[in-house]
């Protein structure tokens, strides 16, 4: 296992790359989900307000 993590001495370069990639990829998906949830709530509230105005 420690041999795998060492990556022939290049572990210190390889693992930060994989770690940052993981963080960024998860980050862009999570932030998109959150933005959608927020925008959805806002749009819904707006649509309901419009409906109330028209009735």
């Amino acid at each position: 296992m420690s041999e795998f993590l060492d990556m022939g001495g290049y572990g210190a370069y390889i693992w930060p790359c994989y770690a940052l990639t993981l963080i960024v990829l998860v980050g862009i998906a999570v932030s998109a989900r959150r933005a959608l949830a927020a925008e959805h709530t806002r749009a819904l509230r707006r649509a309901q307000a419009n409906q109330e105005l028209s009735t």
Binding site: Y13, I14, P16, C17, L20, T21, V24, A43, L44, R46
Partner: protein, 261 residues
């Protein structure tokens, strides 16, 4: 077609025969909103499965490189990020052009949705490149043609985002940023062919249409990762596009229908 009456666009029969039916359907925001919601889980799960396979193949199965030893394993996160940073920009520029030429709101929405994701792919390409450059070139950073043009690629994304945010009005932001996106597309071939045109520290292309200089055992995980990244981008785009559609469809009546669900 009028850009303000989306519901009438949805119901109106296409004028030029059924050949353009798919185009009309796809360009209708309610249809695009629903479709991206349906497609997202398929994109996401196939991307995650392929990423797991690609990472396993790249870190466990592929043998060390004869020159670069284990350091070459950065390729499996570096090359997909770098290639996506260019591909996303092409999508953004084409969508911007379609939005300008046919005055299609949905195309502008797609372009706007691309920018932040593309910027992050550029950041990943530069960061992983830096961590590959340190052991291979002996430096974290060099003002090398490939590195510099990729940095410009990142600035193009940031410029696009900054320009958009300087407008209150979405339609004006769409038009101005579309022009920037179209002009900036000249940088894409510069990044791609920088290692061929100029004397670069960056290694040349190992994979071309005619032949590849990488052993198949190292190559297949890379192709799996490239496909996985593209699918992952598509999954994120489904959400981002929906955000942009909601921002643009402030008074559309179909919004109440999605609330009912």
């Amino acid at each position: 077609m009028s850009s303000n009456t989306e519901s009438s666009v949805l119901n109106a029969p296409p004028k030029s025969g059924t050949r353009w039916l798919w185009f009309h359907k796809l360009s209708s925001p309610p249809y695009a909103y629903r479709t991206s919601g349906v497609l997202r889980p398929w994109f996401l799960w196939s991307a995650l499965i392929l990423m797991a396979i690609g990472v396993y193949g790249g870190l466990m199965l592929a043998p060390p490189d004869y020159q670069q030893k284990d350091s070459f394993r950065i390729i499996y996160v570096h090359v997909p990020s770098a290639s996506m940073s260019l591909m996303v920009y092409v999508v953004m520029a084409v969508a911007s052009a379609v939005g300008l030429i046919w005055r299609m709101k949905l195309a502008h929405a797609l372009a706007a949705a691309c920018a932040a994701v593309g910027a992050w792919f550029s950041v990943l390409a530069l960061f992983t490149g830096s961590f590959w450059g340190k052991p291979m070139w002996g430096t974290w950073w060099a003002w090398d043609p490939r590195v510099t043009s990729e940095l410009i690629q990142l600035f193009l994304y940031l410029g696009f985002i900054a320009l958009r945010s300087s407008f209150e009005d979405t339609q004006r932001a769409d038009r101005a940023s579309a022009i920037l996106a179209i002009v900036g597309v000249v940088n894409v071939p510069v990044v791609k062919y920088s290692v061929v045109w100029w004397n670069s520290l960056h290694q040349g292309p190992s994979i071309t249409l005619t032949k590849s200089t990488i052993d198949p055992s190292m190559l297949w995980p890379l192709f799996v990762m490239l496909l996985a990244y593209a699918l992952y981008f598509a999954a994120v785009m489904c959400d981002r596009l929906r955000v942009e559609i909601l921002k643009r469809e402030r008074n559309a009546s179909w919004l109440t229908d999605i609330g009912a669900k």
